[in-house]
Amino acid sequence: MAARYAQYKRTWYFLRRNTLAMVGLAIIILFAAAFVYGLTYPASSSTPVQYCASNGPVPVSPDNPCYDAPYIVCTYPSGTVSPGPGCYQTPPDNPNFIAPTFTLAHGLGAFPFGSLVYPSADLSTSDPLFYNTYTMLEKGTVNSVGLSVLIVATGAGVGLLLGALSGYFGGWIDEIVMRITDIFLSIPAILLVIAVIIVGKSSGLRSFDETLVLIGIAFVVVWWPFYARIVRSQSLVVREQRYVEAAKASGASNGRIIVKHVVPNSVYPVFVQMSLDVGTIPLLLAAITFIGFVLFPYPLIPEWGSVAAAGASILTAVFTECGVKGAVCAVPWWQVAFPGLAIFFFSLSVNFLADGLRDALDPRLRR
């Protein structure tokens, strides 16, 4: 066992020399902590929940103080008041509403802060849901990270199985599996995901949990071919190894060879790919939401991607508004900034780590 331990030590040694990878690891640990802590939040349900003046859930009702807190009203030099997204003022009739004079402490949600509004992705709905940054980030971590990890794990499992089979047996099995991967790889990911989700939704699966399941299915459908490809190329190499032939010569069944030799040898590259993809999925979710597709039913369950996307579209709206009418209005930049940064850092750290791993595991790329 000592030798095996030495191998790990070696990998760790090369990983440690890679500063970026270490940075990535640190950030990931932070996210992991946030994830664990976020689990203590009340499970998301389909009943409207909002986080406004306090971090705890408060039922939505018209007489709720910060119910009409949003940023809907715009003031123009002329003094006329007209509704339009992206601009805000302090409603005089709402004492609880704190004007978004923004400080770092607010952003981090150091104390309850009702007015940093994260609107529902569905801009058409008249009554958006509000979170303060802190809550958004917490729940976002839980949903985004949890979802990504789940998806990637499943996809990798399927890919590992099929890839190993096709690579090891070759012949017609290989042909079939590879053609199928070709098919799925040539359909752009986002489009396929949306298609699957839409079909699911239009056949009635619309609640939050159902949506989660749908998203999962859609992404797995899209994702497994990548892994199948990787594992296949690996097992093609392993298959030609003499030690596999030796195992055959002493009567090993194909199943045994796949389990004992092929799969273990394909694990590392798959792992690297997985860590890359975990970072990619929130991005795709964001993109999907951004182009206006309503992923989650109302109320919006915070998921970085969708929140950021919604914020970004408001940003653009603000620009057009202010640009055209030359209005004096501040830009609610934080609505993009925080979820965006969350995605950015998560994906970035994961990539750092993955790349470091690749270098450390691949002797050719070692420095």
């Binding site: 070696r10 040694y13 090369f14 420095r367």
Partner: protein
């Protein structure tokens, strides 16, 4: 020496690590009794090369010294991991760096020390608690050193490698890879020849008719006639072209050869644009040559010639800028046509030199279309294209079949007789050495343990390792049911054995062998051995 000690020239540990003062480090030479009067072309003095790996410092070479004289063939023989190839690559600075590094030593070639400036290239920082050593390289200096040594590669020191199939670039045709060597080192002469060529068509026409007549006679006649055509065109390569056109005509049996040849000749005219392109090319080569001479003088005088480098660099830059239009794909193809054809036929000539039956097809072909033997011939022709003073062959026949190996060895012997370059033949096969080499150096674990003429070594092997090696070779020419073998295996060079590195496997091991490293001693003319069993006079300069 204890392995825990950090190994680096900077640290005191070096004095034990690199044997600067130890007797071994003194260069080896035949005693005055029978002085070899041929001039020394390569003088390697206690070369030390380490590999700085994760597991520790691999002491691959520990003070290797030898001399190579003009026209002789020195065989470097030993088992895997004894550092034969490392020696060759250290001499030409081709060891992969990182992890490898030439730590110290001298390599004198044309009076220039190829390893000049080694000390300033890197700093060595031992890692506490491990036997790793961190190497901090000065990128700029390493690059400069590479450029310097690069100036003697190819033209001065040529190399051929073990795996011909992997040693050739898979995506370029043979003539391309062969031609670029010619252009690199012989560019000016090639271009001059090309620009001097002014075919007077009537003469060519006449010669071509003669050639057509000769087709039916014989190969020799054809060659002669083709040569005449070449002279008529004032371009030898055109003669070659004509010859193969004639061959083509003979095999196909149709086509009026004479007119074809003269048409080809008329196509040879060089347009103005092409001429200016050629002039520019020539200028580039000239600058490159001067650059090389600057590098060499740097290594000779041992100081950095910033001024000359700068001047040449500026000239080259200006020229390149002026020639940008020629880089455009369409234009380039049209403008460089004469040069490309010239180089192609020169390549064909080079291939003829290594007895390839159908050089034109081979020249057009790609590496993956040729057999290992054929590729090795191509490699040899590539190495000898601009007759170098030294040819280093790293296991040239190991990857080949027995019958092909015989062909290649025959070829090498023949070329050796014809050109008379000095050859450093690296192989693990004593039999090959016996066939080809004049002198042999036996290496073990990064050191030369015995050095003698082939005859002496095989008739009177002195070092126990040499004896064991010879005994363990199965002979095809005599039945031997019981094979001798050397117990144990090659030591791990991270923790090399103390004293004589062979003592753990040596049947005659004595206590002293553990303590200190045996000095190289003279045992008869040109026969040196490093072993305590013999107490001849230590080798002296």
């Amino acid at each position: 020496m204890s392995a825990a000690q950090p190994i680096s020239p900077a640290s005191p540990a070096v004095d034990t690590g690199t044997p600067a003062p130890s007797p071994l480090s003194l260069p080896i030479e035949a005693p005055a009794a029978a002085p070899d009067l041929r001039p020394v072309v390569l003088d390697v003095r206690n070369l030390v090369t380490y590999f700085y790996t994760y597991d520790g410092v691999v002491r691959a070479l520990e003070g290797v010294s030898f001399k190579l004289r003009r026209g002789e063939t020195l065989g470097l023989v030993g088992e895997t991991g004894c550092g034969k190839s490392v020696t060759m690559f250290s001499v030409t600075r081709l060891i992969p760096d990182p992890p490898g590094r030439v730590v110290s030593g001298k390599v004198l070639f044309r009076g220039a020390d190829l390893l000049w400036g080694l000390g300033h290239e890197a700093r060595f920082i031992p890692v506490k608690g491990t036997n790793r050593v961190k190497v901090k390289r000065s990128f700029r200096r390493v690059k400069a050193a590479q450029a310097r040594v690069g100036s003697v590669r190819g033209a001065g020191i040529a190399m051929i490698f073990q795996e011909p199939t992997q040693a050739m670039n898979p995506i370029f045709a043979i003539h391309d890879q062969l031609g670029e060597v010619l252009l690199e080192h012989r560019g000016e002469e090639v271009i001059d020849g090309l620009m001097a060529s002014t075919p007077d068509l009537p003469a060519v026409r006449a010669a071509a008719e003669a050639l057509e007549r000769s087709v039916k006679v014989s190969d020799e006649a054809m060659r002669a006639a083709a040569k005449a055509v070449g002279e008529a065109a004032h371009l030898t390569s055109f003669g070659t072209q004509a010859f193969y056109m004639a061959r083509q005509a003979r095999t196909s049996g149709q086509g009026n050869l004479a007119t074809e040849v003269s048409r080809a000749a008329s196509r040879m005219r060089i347009s103005g644009a092409q001429a200016s392109f050629l002039r520019g090319e020539r200028e580039l080569r000239k600058i490159a040559r001067e650059m090389r001479s600057v590098y060499i003088s740097e290594m000779r005088r041992g100081e950095f010639e910033r001024v000359n480098r700068g001047r040449l660099g500026a000239r080259r830059l200006r020229l390149r800028l002026r020639r940008i239009p020629y880089r455009l794909p369409g234009i380039k193809r049209r403008v460089s046509r004469p040069l490309r054809e010239e180089t192609f036929w020169r390549a064909v000539q080079a291939l003829e030199g290594v007895q390839i039956a159908n050089p034109v097809q081979v020249a057009r072909g790609f590496p993956h279309e040729l057999s290992g033997g054929m590729l090795q011939r191509v490699m040899i022709s590539m190495a000898l294209a601009c007759d170098p003073e030294i040819l280093m062959a790293d296991e040239p026949t190991t990857a080949l079949d027995v019958t092909i190996q015989a062909q290649i060895l025959e070829l090498m012997n023949e070329l050796r007789r014809r050109i008379g370059t000095a050859i450093l033949l690296i192989t693990h096969d004593l039999a090959v050495i016996a066939e080809v080499a004049d002198r042999v150096a036996v290496m073990y674990a990064g050191q030369i343990v015995e050095m003698a003429s082939v005859h002496d070594l095989f008739t009177r092997p002195l070092h126990p390792y040499t004896q064991g090696l010879l005994a363990s070779i199965p002979r095809v020419d005599q039945p031997s049911k019981k094979l001798e073998s050397i117990p144990g295996s090659v030591p791990n060079l991270i923790f090399p054995p103390s004293g004589c590195r062979y003592h753990p496997r040596c049947p005659h091991a004595m206590p002293v062998c553990k303590e200190q490293r045996p000095p190289m001693t003279v045992e008869g003319t040109g026969h040196n051995v490093a072993c305590f069993l013999y107490n001849g006079a230590p080798v002296v300069e």
